[in-house]
Amino acid sequence: MSAALELRSEIDNLISKGEAQRAYLRICELWRNEKAPGSAAFVVSRAERLRDRLPFVPYRLAILRSFTVEPIVPILRASAFCYGIDLTVLVGDFNAYAQEILEKESSVYRFAPDAVILAVRTADIAGDLWQDFADLGSDDAGKSARRVISNFEQWIRAFRSRSQAALIVHNFEQPERPTFGLLDLQREASQSALVEQINREMRRISLENHGVYLLDYDALVSRHGRLRWGDTRKWLTARLPIAADQLLHLAVEWLRFIVPLSGKLAKVLVVDLDNTLWGGVIGEDGMDGVKLGPEYPGAAYLALQRVLLDLSRRGILLAICSKNNSDEAMEMMEKHAGMLLRPQNFAAIRINWQDKVQNLREIAAELNIGLDAIAFLDDNPVEREHVRVALPEVFIIDLPKDPIEYAAALRDFPGFERLTFSVEDRQKTEMYAAQRQRIEAAQNFQSKEEFFHYLQQEAEIVPLTPATLGRISQLTQKTNQFNLTTRRYSEQQIAEIGASSAARVFSIRVRDRFGDHGLAGVAITRDQGDVREIDTFLLSCRVIGRTVETALLSFLAQDAASRGLKRMQGWFFPTKKNAPAREFYREHGFATQDTNGRGSLWVFDLAAPIPCPEWIHLRKPTEIEI
C-alpha cells in the first residue's frame, strides 16, 4: 500500500478508536503532503467527524460570485480545518450577486454569515471594457468604468446597511493581452488605465466603509502568472476561469482573510537560531563560520531576518527558543555584522538545553499570552512535530527544505495577517521593554500600594471616534484573560453600537512613568429604565493588576449615577482563560442576582460610588456624547 493510502487508513482507524487529537494531527499531515483538489474532500469529510470532539472555531462564509467557485470550496474548507476553523460555506447563485445583496431577505442574509466574499471578474461585470474595447469611444469607455464603480459603491453600501458581516471584495484583473497591444499604453484611452482607475476607486470605497476589505485579485493573478492562471476551456464548458493547479492559490488567498477574521491571531513569533536566523551552527562553526550576509547562501537567512523585522514593526512580538550555549549565541546576536536583528528586538529569550515545549510554556507565561497566540518557527522538522503533538494550540509554521524559500513561507503565513492596524501595534516591542522595567521596579517595593504610587499612572476615558474604532474592535477580538463576557465585535458592529442612543462605548488610555500603554481597556454599556447593563468590560493583559479596572468601573458608575440611573449590572461568562476576571464584580461590591448555564449576573446599587484608586489620576472627557 502506498504511503498516502496508509495515512488515510491510519486516519480512519484513529477516528474509529475515538482518538480525535491524533486523528486530527494526521489529517493535517495529509493535507500538508497533498494540498490538492483530489485530497480536499477526504480531509473535509474526516475532519467533520471530529467536530464534536475538538474545539474548532465555527465560521460562516458566503461567496457571491460571477463564476464557478464550487471546486474551490473543499480546498478552502480543508485548509481552514488545518487552522482549526470549521467553515460553513454558502455559495450564491451564479451571477446573482447584485440581487442577493440588494434584497433584504435574500438567502445570503438569512444564512447569517460572519463574512461574505464578493468575487466578480472584470470580464463579467464590464464585458464592454474587456472584449469590446476596440468598439468603444473614449467617452463610452469612461462611462462604462464609472458605471462599474457606482454599481459597486451602491452594492457595498447596501450590504453594509443590511449585514454586520465582514465583506471581502475582489478587485479587477487586467487583461492578459490588451486589445490595442503595445498601443494601449501609448494613447489616452487606455484599457489597462481604466481597469486601474476602477481598482483605485474600489480601494477608496473599501476604506470608506467599515469592515469592507479589498482582495487584490489582480495582484494574485499576476503573482502566479497571468497566462498560467486562466483556463479558457474550463471557462467555456464549466464557467470555471481558473486552471486546476491555481485553485489552491485562490483558496489560500481567501484564507488569509478568514484566519484573522475568525480570531485566529498569532501575536508572538518564537524562532530558532541555528540554521534559521543564520546558516550553520554557532556552537560548531563560530561567528566567522556561520552564513549570514548579503551573499549566497547567507542572503537567505538575512531575508528571513528582514521578514521578522517587518513583522515586529507590524506589532508581532519576537522571541527566541534555541538549544545553544547562551553566551555564544548572545555574542553572535550582539556582534555579528550581518545580523539585522539584535537582542533588543526580542521580547523574550530562551537559549538553553531545555526541552522546547517547556521553553514555549515559559515564554507564554513571561509575555502573559496564551499558547494559542504563539507561532513557532524552526528549521528542524523533528522539533516542529514535537511541539505540534505536545502543544496543539501553537501555530506551527512549516518551512520548506531550501532556506532560499524561508522568507516567502513566513510572509505567506496567515496567522500574522491583520485587517486593522493601530498605533499600539506599532509600539508593542517598546511597550514590552517598558513592561520588563515595571516588573523589575515592582520588586523594590514593600507593598503594592507603594509601587502603584511610584508608577504615577494616568488614565483617560476616551470616547468612540473613527480613530479609536479599530483599536476597540481589535481589543474585543483579542482579549481573553481580563474579559467579563468575551463578546467579539467587528469594527462595523462597534460603529453600530456606538450609533444607538442607549448604548455607550468607552475606552481607557493608560500611561505611567515607564511609558504609554495606549488604549488598554474597553467598556460597552446599555442603559434601560434605571439600569445600566455592562455588555462588555475588558482590559488588555498589559495593564492587568494595576487597578486600572477599578478606575474604569468607577467612571462607569459615576457616569451612570449622573444620568439618574439607579443600578448597574453585568454578566460574568467564564471561559477557559478569563479566570483573572472571575472575582471582579464581587471585589467591587456587586451581588449575584442570577445564574444560568453560561454565567452569573451581578448587580450594584448606584447609591454608593465606586471610588477611583487614589494613585490613578483619572481624566474624563468633557463631552462624551457622540
Binding site: 502506498s2 498516502a4 488515510r8 490538492a36 483538489p37 464550487e70 476551456r233
Partner: protein, 86 residues
C-alpha cells in the same frame, strides 16, 4: 491498463466520491456510484489535471464514463506528454 495508474485513479475517486477504496473497480461509473454527479465529475477532472499536469479537453471529459475509461485516458495522456518531452 497498468495497476499503478489504476490504483492512483481509484484512490482519487475514493476521496472525491466518498466511497471506500474496495468498492471502486474498473467498472465503476456514474450509473453505479451515486455521488459521481456532474460536480464530482468536474472535481475529478480538476484533480487529474492538477496531479498529472496535463489538460483534459471537453471531448475527453465526456469520454470518461467509467474508472476504466479514466485510467486509459490518463495512461494515454501520460504517454503522449512523455513523447513530447523526448
Amino acid at each position: 491498463m497498468t495497476a499503478a495508474i489504476f490504483e492512483q485513479v481509484r484512490g482519487m475517486a475514493s476521496d472525491l466520491f466518498g466511497v471506500p477504496l474496495d468498492q471502486i473497480s474498473p467498472a465503476s461509473s456514474p450509473a453505479n456510484i451515486e455521488t459521481w454527479d456532474s460536480t464530482a465529475h468536474l472535481n475529478l477532472v480538476l484533480a487529474l489535471e492538477e496531479r498529472y499536469g496535463f489538460q483534459i479537453s471537453p471531448e475527453e471529459m465526456e469520454k470518461m464514463q467509467s474508472i476504466a475509461d479514466v485510467t486509459t485516458l490518463v495512461e494515454s495522456k501520460l504517454r503522449s506528454t512523455a513523447g513530447q518531452q523526448r
